[in-house]
Amino acid sequence: MTSSDWLCVILLPFTTTALAFPLGEFMAKVFNGSKTFLSPVIAPLERVLYRLFGVDEKEEMSWQTYALCLIIFNIIGIIIVFILQIIQGKLPLNPQKLGSVWWDTALNTAVSFGTNTNWQSYSGEQTMSHLTQMLGLTVQNFFSAAIGITVIIALIRGFVRKSSGSIGNFWVDLTRSILYVLIPLVMIWSLLLVSQGVVQTFSGSVTAQTLEGSRQTIAVGPVASQEAIKEIGTNGGGFFNANSAHPFENPTPLTDFLEILGLLLVPMALPFTLGAMLKNRRQGAAIFAAMLILYLAGLGVFAWSEMQGNPLLQKVGVINGLNMEGKEVRSGIINSVLFAQSTTATSCGAVNSMHDSMMPLSGLVLMFNMAIGEVIFGGVGTGLIGMLSYAMLTMFLAGLMIGRTPELMGKKLELFEMVMSVIIILSPAILLLLLSGIAVTTRAGLASLGNSGPHGLSEIIYAFASTSGNNGSAFAGLNANTVFYNLTTSGAMLVGRFSTIIPALAIAGSLANKKIVPASIATFPTTGLLFILMLIGVILVVGALTFFPVFTLGPLLEHLLMMTGKMF
């Protein structure tokens, strides 16, 4: 590793943490309805919007009402994106005269952007008009991220409130997430990116004369604005098919750093929001620490695996056997590793390298990040929801083992909470296994494979881990733009999303209704090292037990075969 590699590896966690903490505190204020430094500018606009849509700012909702508003809003969004794609040929802002999108691709894309997954089975610049990109995709990038934030805020309120029948107002939370959190951050990021040369224009393409004398059409478009929300909202859907490996999306080392920073920022800030809203900042810090440890541990294994190199490449004379396939030479190994680890740990899914070409054990780390349910920072909002579900599971066991009926942060965990948190934790995993199982037994599933053997299995598992975890990054190698994959991944994305969000709101409603048990010396402190380690242990064990067989047959077997000289 070079000294600039080290600089990035060390600088990144420190910078993001340093920015995440104040952002977390800021968000707590926003959602508690307190005044912030942005209030003088935004509050009037906020009031106008409420009046326009007839929202009563003071009205409180039960979890059922909250969930209903959310579902209707989200479904309508998905339908609009679907229709936009179908009729885009007849609409303006279509300089490349792109026709309507195939129904299955359109459905997949609508679901994908509506669920904050941004799985892209299509190639952006060749499929979507500027109007679809801006009015459909970018708008959903904001909304799907904002919805994630509203749900986690509602869940936090479940812990904060006592004997209360309500968990907040969906419309107010949604408006505030967008106005106070996402738009300001996106404005800053867009400007920073544009300053580094990220493209932002309405024209469709430019034609260039190459050195060889031939003519080349280069696609351009309103990239920077979509790029910023792509990271800030952990969406990950690139304007171009190559995503952040494309020089127009990610031109310089600074933009690379900024993009990793951007995609980590909000998920990292939310544990601090939890701490601030609970008025127990150590609790927020403990959850954050568990996430950070998992993130760094994965990063360590990942970097080690890449730096080991491939013995086969070594034989043909590559220095140290370092594998550069699929990586941008300008990024190098470590920046690719940092980006890939961050984008799979959070459910962003933007990529600056091709994950398919990583070493087998690296692929294992990436799949593990997604398969455990995107809880290592995770998606905007949904990551912390998953983590809190694991915390409930942890405290269920810990509570029993200290002889108390289980509780977390003063709230008793009973049958209802256990059912819901188990749904949150296990349904994406079950779905991932079932769909992968179907894919490997059907001709339609196997036909899309780019590689055979264990690597082919990894491609399938990765696709469903990515979609059921609402990550959206692709392993590449797999042709996902088929009716089979468009439909199965759509299903994975929908279930992955709503089996997290709806149970989380149900838990919020149930917890808000409960009393808060005051802490005593008989309460197990959920802010200490023992809790952090046990939480990590539970996540690793659940992940390992669920995926041991399939990871053995996929990446692990591929690694072992590679060591004996066999490649796929």
């Binding site: 296994l433 199982g437 037994t441 072992l560």
Partner: protein
Amino acid sequence: MKATKINIWQSRFIIPALKDSFKKLNPVVMARNPVMFVVELVTVITTLIVVSDIFTGKNILFNLQISLWLWFTIIFANFSEALAEGQGRAQADSLKKNRSESMAKRLLSGGGSEVISALKLRKEDIILLEDGNTIPGDGEVIEGTALIDESAITGESAPVIRESGGDRSGVTGGTRVLSGKIKVRITANPGESFLDQMINMVEGAKRRKTPNEKALNILLIALTIVFVVVVTTFKYFADYAGVSVSLSVLIALLVCLMPTTIGGLLPAIGIAGMDRLLRYNFIAMSGRAVEASGDVDIVLMDKTGTITLGNRMATEFIPVDNESENELISAAILSSLADDTPEGRSIVVLAKEKLGIHGSDIRAPEGAVFCPFSAETRMSGIDCSDRKIRKGSLEAIREFVAAKGSPISDEIQKIVNDISKEGSTPLLVAQNEKILGAIRLKDVLKEGISGRIAKLRQMGIKSVMITGDNPLTAATIAAEAGVDDFVAEAKPSTKLDLIRSYQSKGHLVAMIGDGTNDAPALAQADVAVAMNAGTQAAREAANIVDLDSNPTKLLDIVEIGKQILITRGALTTFSVANDVAKYFAIVPAIFIAQYPQLKALDIMHLTSPGSAVLSAVIFNALIIPLLIPLALRGVRYKPSGVSALLRRNLLIYGLGGLILPFIGIKLIDAIIALFKMA
């Protein structure tokens, strides 16, 4: 108080339990336990495979062994439940023995009476009991007073007094009237008494799952679903990899991964908890209350009877105005000879001790007349020919001497004030117009109460003392006993209000009570322990009845409640941690022929693929009977810091559960290799 433990490891318990284990194979019964039900389902499939093997003649030995061990797994699990039930039944029988054969004299509404079998008694029947009668059922004394031997139920040999009207009116079936004649109203139909309710809770089939058990069950079901999916899809992934896995190996893998250890032992843990309660002479009305007792963080205790012995005792004689101590003591004795109150007797005892007199050689002088304590005079004493001796409170004695023209001196006033300030009660002794001195009456703590309160504190439970005394007296006792808080000058409604206010702050409150006054508060408390000697109202409002009527036993309930939860948590952790080793045994075994590279995962170096699978299945089956003693006894609970407790349990059951199966499977594999069973 004395725990009577029944040794379960005798053939008279084991043989019926074994029979029951087979009876419980009935799928309708098994369905109560979803985890084991799934195991039974797949085990039937393995049996069918064996049957088909008989015709094909392939693999029969291996499949037969797998199938047999899976059946053993289920039977071992059933055995644990049956054994716990047997223990509970035996425990209850020993309490119940005396009640069924007895006869009762029922009073007829039109006058007269009839003698009927105790089993025919109904609620609201009124029966007459006389010397030597066994009380046929739970009830309440409505007339008369009797001395009752409760040793059959409590093991306590000293008889107790039960009388109508007061807080000591409850009688329990199976106890015996030593002397006295009482009318008792029966309060429970046969089969509905507290004991019968308790017996229901140790019978698996009738037992209702407690809330926490239900929540844990959800977790176990979820794990089962996940593993069913994991194993089913595993077949297709293996097919993809070009390896065909046989159905019996898949089923073996599934059962090994499923949480069969905790799933199998879960009912036994709950029942055994109830058994332990019975052993401590508690009768619980619901499992929920027992679970909640592990969570209690505040306990309300009456001062009188719980913290103190209930009677003030003389602890010191303080002479005044240069009077000699001996003179004060003799006067005190004389004034107390006729005083039959506990205070009076304690004065005589202390005086004898001070004077070094043994036996009862103190007599009143000839011709003396006793003046017993009366509500008007508020004094007791003796009138001799030459003198009048009186003892009583400051006010009463002040009137007595004032009538003879002498005032209370400053010294006396000061002594009285000092005694009061220290939380004791002063009594003054006067002879004619002269005050001889004061007697200090003090509330005496029950033996060991401070230790128990300190232990409660270690468990994180705050103790609050409730008393009708003035704040000064209350504070002294509170400090001496070491309670965390106290409420003085409490009215009957204070307890209820206090419980409500604690509960509204999220606390879980336990309360011990016996009086009718306590009933509303008991009904409000999360864990309400009624003394068996208490009134019917109190017993009905409570969710746990203490047959020993010993208020300090709350600690035992809390410990039992915590033990049940800890045992569940520990075995769940253990069960899940076990899976890691089983994966390492079975997965490489399946693929090693096709992919020798996966030998790297075979860290146990097992003899052969067949032996690896079989060893895992055998380990999974054997671990259940090995853990039955633990499930029945409960994981040890020692009040200590929660973090230390968790660390310890995580180390033993988490880390231990991770490592132990590696060793166990390796050992079983070696034995299998030795006998060439696979």
